[in-house]
Amino acid sequence: MKLEFKEKISERIWKNYFKRVNRTLKSVPAKQREEMILELQGHLYESFQNDNSPNEADGILNSIEKMGDPEDYLRPVAAEKLLSNASKSFNPKDIFFGLVCNFCISVKKALFACFFSIGYLFLTVIAIMTVFKIFFPDNIGVFKKPSGSYTIGIIYDSTLYTDVFGYWIIPAGLILSVVLYFILTKSLKLMTGKRI
C-alpha cells in the first residue's frame, strides 16, 4: 500500500521499518506475509495519525517505538506459522525452515547466556589470580617465555620465565575485574530490560 508522506525522511523511516518486518517474515508464505504486513502498516499508520508530534518523522519514530522491534515480536509468529504450514503440507523445505526458525530463537537465548557466563567466569579468574599473586608471587602473573611468547596464569616452575608486570598485576587485575563487572552487569541489565 502506497502512503504519502510530507517529508522524505519519514518515508525512509517507514520503508526501513517494513524492510525489517519483511526480513523477519521472509520464511512465511507470501500471502500470509502480505496480510501481516498490511495489518501492521494499518496499525502503525493509525498510531502515527494519533501522535501529537509537530514533526512527521518524530511521529513515525514514536509510533515505531511503541510498536516494538519486529525481530522480537514477529519471530515467534513466523516460527509458528512455518511449523504449522509444514505439518499440514509435509513439505521438507517448510519443515526445515520452521525448525531452523525455532532453533534460532533458542540459540539466541543460549548464546546470550553463554556470553555473559564466560564474561563473569573470566573476571572471577582474574580476581582470584590477583589475590593469589600475594601468596604465590613467583607462580602467578603474566610471564614471558624464553622463546618470546607470553603466557598468563599459574606456572609451577617459573625459573626460566620473566614476570612481565610483577606486583603491578595486583592493582591492574583488581581494576580490570571491577570495570569488567560493571560493564557486564550494565549490559545484562540493558539487554534484559526490554519491554515484551
Partner: protein, 114 residues
Amino acid sequence: MNQKEFLNKWESQLRKGLLEFIILMYLEEKQYYGYELISEIKQFLSITISEGTIYPLLNRLKKEGLITSTWVEKEVGIPRKYYQITKEGIDALASMKDSWIHVNFSLQKLMVKK
C-alpha cells in the same frame, strides 16, 4: 532492585500474563481491530507493552479457534482486520472466568489465613 521496583515488575508481569484472557473479554463485548484493541488494553491496564506483541497473541487465539478475523475495507486509508470471538472462544472464556474466580477465591482464603 528495591521493593517498589520489585512490586511494579511483579504487577506488570501479572497483567501481561492475563492478556489472552483480557483480549477474549474485550472481544466478547464487540469486534475490534488490532490497534484499537491494544490501545484500549493499554489504557485499562496502565502497563508498558510493545504494541506489536498483540499480534502473536491474536494469532495464537485464532489458531486455537477461539477468534476469527475479517478484513474491512475503508473508504480512505489501509483496510482493517477485525477480530471476533467464536462460539469456542465464548466457551473457553466462560471456563477461564470460572478458573479465575476459583484462583481468586483460593487466594482470598490464603490471605485471610495469613
